[in-house]
Symmetry: C2
Subunit: 153 residues, 2 copies
DNA sequence: CCTCCAAATAGAAATAACTTCTATTTATAT
DNA sequence: ATATAAATAGAAGTTATTTCTATTTGGAGG
């Protein structure tokens, strides 16, 4: 927690109760959350807190390097603690929506592709997590109708 | 074009002027378009065509296997002709927004990751296309403020 | 050709996930 | 303690779709 307070200060951000609570949620659960996830969990302690406030804080925490943001295919932004801010990707459970880091990235950024100069890349893996695999077999979560669920196979 | 008409019929879809015009646009330009791209290009010929109609048609064309849909980080869906419907990924120019197919995929779907059973994966590469690299150097396109522009490096 | 009807179309309204705006409060350096 | 830049709340706005409710129309069958 010390570490995060320092990052806040370094970024010129105040240590508000709200922010500390949000960081606390990420530390305690060690997982990725959407703005709404955070918002609903804050309700108990900060009943007068709206979604705009949550977004503002999450973005501030991204800017000062405490959180990373990933855009998922459910069209939502998901936030999680920066894994030392080193390059990594994510795997998502198609049943429960859990997100985990994938630490090693095999992508070769130096390779030329179709005349493009590669600037960045993004890898998203979908799967079924251990917990959901053990649970009673049921249909995989159906995302929004027009939702792109990644190239199968 | 014959080939696409057959796919339409096979999918139980009518050969309407609208649909043939949309397919024509993809064939002529051989690139990926958003619904709005298509809509603005249809205006000359079909002045009374709204965006909902374009979306409906694009989704029908995806369903019958004529188009593929990819969700880009600008939060828009982009559509393109199916490359024989074989597994492929995409590279996007961060300056002009052009999308090209990447035909060979090195991802190992068999590898177990963090206890997950891998179901699918998605790779998105961002870069600068040949045309934009030759053009006068200017700042890279700035996507929406909170936009995820993929892990740099 | 003509008829019919499932499918397609149009336009308005609704939705989801944010983002921006304006006014009011608060953390913190001095 | 004060001053002030930053944070907060709630309302309103935005964007990219999606849904809804009539109103046409492509094309199979006669
Ligand atoms: Mn992560
Ligand atoms: Mn493609
Ligand atoms: Zn799961
Ligand atoms: Zn380009």
């Amino acid at each position: 927690m010390e570490r995060y307070c320092n990052k806040l200060k370094a970024g010129g951000l105040k240590l508000t109760p709200r922010r500390l609570a949000i960081i606390g949620l990420f530390v305690d659960h060690n997982t990725h959350f959407t703005a709404e996830d955070i918002w609903s969990r804050l309700q108990k302690r900060f009943s007068r807190c709206g979604l705009p406030g949550v977004y503002r804080n999450l973005e501030s925490l991204v800017e000062c390097g405490i959180l990373t943001r990933i855009q998922q295919f459910d069209r939502k932004k998901h936030y999680g603690l920066c894994a030392g801010s080193h390059h990594h990707h994510h795997i998502t459970c198609i049943r429960c929506g859990k997100v985990d880091n994938i630490e090693d990235c095999a992508f070769d950024s130096a390779k030329k592709i179709k005349g493009y100069t590669v600037v960045s890349h993004f890898i998203q893996v979908n799967g079924v997590c251990g917990g959901c695999a053990k649970a009673a077999p049921h249909r995989d979560r159906v995302w929004g109708k027009g939702m792109f669920v990644c190239s199968e196979k």
